[in-house]
Amino acid sequence: MTHEILFAGFGGQGILSMGMTLAYAGIIEGKEVTWMPSYGPEMRGGTANCIVIVSDKRISSPIIGKFDALIAMNQPSLDKFESAVKPNGIIMYDSGNIIVPPTRTDVTIAAVPVDVEALKLNNLKVRNMIMVGAFLSICQVVDTGTVVKALAKVLPERYHHMLKINQEALQRGEKIVIEAATPLA
C-alpha cells in the first residue's frame, strides 16, 4: 500500500511539521517514506506545502503530480490543488479558513473546523494535530499511537511538555470525524 499525501497552507500553520510527523510515524511502523517540501522564494510568509509518501515498498519518485489525499489549510491551497487529487481520493480542509469549499464529486471531502476544536482544547497551536487526527480517522496511513511516538522524536526536548496536549488534539481530530461520519460518507 502506498499513500501519497499533499499538505498545503500558509507558512506558519505547521504544514511542514504535520507532514514530517506523519513521515516519522511511517518510519516507526517500518514503512518507507519521503517528505518533500516545496521550498518557496527565500522569504518569510507565503504559502507552504509538502508531499508525504508512505509506502510498504521502496519509493521511486518522491515527486508526484496526483495525490491520494490533500490536506488544505487555506483557500489558495485548496483552489490550487483540488484538481490534483486522484479520483476516489480524499480532500480534508480547514473549514475555519476556507470559505469556498471544494466542488469535486468523485472524492471524499471532509471539512474540519480545527479552530473551533482547538479553542475547545484551549490551545491554538495544536490545530495541525487535530487535522492529522481527523485525516487518520479517514485514511489509516499509520496508527495515531505511532504519531504520538513520532511527535516525541520530531519535537525538540524543550517542547515535550506539549506531547500530551498534542495527543489529545489527535484524538479530538479522530473523534470529530467519526462524529460526522455519516454525512461525509
Partner: protein, 271 residues
C-alpha cells in the same frame, strides 16, 4: 476601501505614497525596515524629480526584487557586487544618478573588496547600506555585523569572537578613505529618525550631482523574522543593542571626518 467614508473634504494630503513607489505589494515581513527605506528613497527621488535620471542597483538579499517596488530603471547585481555593477553603470553614465541598496552580508562580507575599492576610487554614487545584523534572505544566518553573543541559525550558541570575530564596522572604515565624501549612520525605526534619514538621502543625492565622491548611508535596521521578534520588540532591541555598537550619527561630512560622534539632533522637527 473600508476607509472611503472618512471625510477628507477641505483637507490637504500631507503624506501619500510617492508615485515612484510601485503599486506592487512588497514581500517584506511585517515591520521590516526594508519597506521604510524603500519608501523614503522613492519619496526623495519623487520630490527631487529624479525618476528619469536615477539608476538603482540592488544585489541579492531580501531586497533583491526591489525593482518590483521602485519605479525606476534598475539592475539586479550578484551577491556582493552591487558597487562593482554601479561602477560600471556610473562610469558610462556619469551624468545620471546611481545608488546601490545593499545588505550587511552583501556589503560587508562577500562584497568587502568591492565596497572598499569603490569608496577608494571615490565612485560618485550613493551606497545605501541596510545593516540588520543578519542574513535575512537566506533564513537568518550570522552576518558580519551580527552582535557578539547574538543567536542566529549559524551561531546557535551566540556569535563568538574566537570563530566568527567581531561585528565589523565597515562604515567607519570606509570613512577613512579620501574617496568618500559623506558617510552617516541612520535608522528608520521612529518618525524622527525617518525624517533624519530622508534628509541624509537628499543630501547624498545633492553631493552626487555636484560630483563630490562616494556617499554611504548605513541604516541600522531590523529583521523581525531573523531575530525572531515582533516588529515592536525588534525596534526596541535595535535601540538597546545595535546602537551601542553602531551608534547613529554622521561620521564624515563634506569630506571631513566628524571628530566626536554627533548624536542625532533632539530638537523638534517636522517635514
Amino acid at each position: 476601501m473600508a476607509d472611503a467614508q472618512v471625510l477628507t473634504n477641505g483637507m490637504e494630503t500631507v503624506w501619500e505614497k510617492p508615485r515612484t513607489l510601485s503599486e506592487t505589494r512588497m514581500h517584506y515581513c511585517p515591520g521590516c525596515g526594508h519597506g521604510v527605506v524603500h519608501k523614503v528613497l522613492m519619496e526623495v527621488i519623487n520630490d527631487m524629480g529624479l525618476q528619469d535620471k536615477t539608476i538603482g542597483v540592488a544585489p541579492v538579499g531580501c531586497s533583491v526584487i526591489a525593482y518590483n517596488y521602485m519605479n525606476i530603471d534598475m539592475q539586479e547585481a550578484a551577491h556582493g557586487r552591487a558597487t562593482a555593477v554601479a561602477t560600471g553603470v556610473k562610469r558610462v553614465l556619469p551624468d545620471k544618478l546611481v545608488f546601490t541598496y545593499q545588505g550587511d552580508g552583501d556589503l560587508a562580507a562577500i562584497g568587502t573588496a568591492e565596497t572598499i575599492h569603490a569608496c577608494n576610487r571615490g565612485e560618485n554614487f550613493l551606497i545605501i547600506f541596510i545593516n540588520n545584523a543578519i542574513y535575512g534572505m537566506t533564513g537568518g544566518q550570522m552576518a558580519p555585523t551580527s552582535l557578539l553573543g547574538m543567536v542566529t541559525s549559524t551561531t546557535p550558541e551566540g556569535r563568538q569572537i574566537e570563530t566568527q570575530g567581531h561585528p565589523i564596522k565597515i562604515t567607519e572604515m570606509v570613512a577613512t578613505l579620501p574617496g568618500t565624501y559623506y558617510i552617516t549612520r541612520q535608522s528608520i525605526h521612529t518618525p524622527t529618525t525617518v525624517r533624519h534619514f530622508k534628509k541624509a538621502v537628499e543630501k547624498a543625492f545633492k553631493h552626487q550631482m555636484e560630483k563630490k565622491g562616494t556617499c554611504l548611508i548605513e541604516v541600522v535596521s531590523n529583521c523581525p523574522s531573523g531575530w525572531k521578534m515582533t516588529p515592536l520588540e525588534a525596534n526596541k532591541w535595535l535601540d538597546q543593542n545595535m546602537f551601542p555598537i553602531f551608534p547613529p550619527g554622521d561620521i564624515k561630512v563634506d569630506g571631513k571626518l566628524v571628530e566626536k560622534k554627533q548624536v542625532i539632533s533632539q530638537k523638534k522637527e517636522i517635514k
